[in-house]
């Protein structure tokens, strides 16, 4: 069922039968698209937890009143 690899060399693969720009830019954008939507929520989670931690500490210690 599986065809053979369609390319005989790596440079041929990179060249994509002359459509290198189109194919690779689409796959590049695809990577960005996936990456952004996976990494951004990941970092955001870290940030949120850090922020919550900080606030937890602040809420325990701070007196939100005027200090004389």
């Amino acid at each position: 069922m599986l065809n053979a690899i369609q390319f005989s060399s790596f440079s041929e693969f990179l060249n994509m039968g002359g459509y290198a720009f189109n194919v690779w830019s689409v796959y590049g954008l695809f990577t960005i698209f996936l990456g952004a939507n996976l990494l951004v929520p990941m970092f955001k989670k870290k940030q949120i937890l850090k922020d919550l931690k900080r606030r937890r500490v602040v809420n325990k210690n701070a007196r939100p009143e005027i200090n004389e």
């Binding site: 065809n3 690899i5 369609q6 994509m16 459509y19 189109n22 954008l29 698209f33 996976l38 931690k53």
Partner: protein
Amino acid sequence: MWLWFSKLGSPKWFYELSGRWLPWLVAAMFAFLFVGVVWALLFVPQDYQQGLTNRIFYVHVPVASISLAFFPLMAIAGTITLVWKMKLADIVVKTAAPLGAWFTAFALASGSIWGIDTWGTWWIWDGRLTSLLFQFFLLIGVVSLRSALEDSDAAAKACALLSIVGCINVVVIKYSVDWWNTLHQPGTDFVLSSNKANGPDIWVPLVLMIGAVYLFFAVSMIMSTRNEILERERRSQWVEELVDNL
């Protein structure tokens, strides 16, 4: 059933459940993605008309077809928000809108790049393209409305309503744009999938990629949903415990 429904509405329950599922989903996503991409790039035979640009097919089609599902999804979640005031549904409306905009943007971009060689132009004012473009605009509208409304309760309801209205509109726009286009450019049909009939070499990687993109959609939605839950429930006991245990 109802119990399950209301439990699903409980953010804490969802957070814990999704926390257990997420690693598996991520693993499955990467597996599908890896096999799908390698197959699509390396093994799929050249198309007699399009040459090797048919590789674009395997990312364009899954993303484009899922992007059409966003407004229905948001409209359903929005209805649940308005009628049953379920918090989780609003979170879905909130996280789906930007992700939908990404999906739509990528469908537009990959389609355009594909078009460079198949049509000889990046863009034509064809019915399907135009309606997808306007879907993109409407999604940006939902995102903007959300970010403009500072009061989160009002924002939730306003976006839910806009999603419902927008869903109707996406449908109407699609039909009217098709009508407009076919009256004007009867010839501009896509060089669509004559591919489909061509046997498993062509469609198995497509199925894999569709699976991968669906999994990606699920993973990304779940991750943003979990973040949103953390932010909204930050005063609740279970989040405080979670934070303290870090």
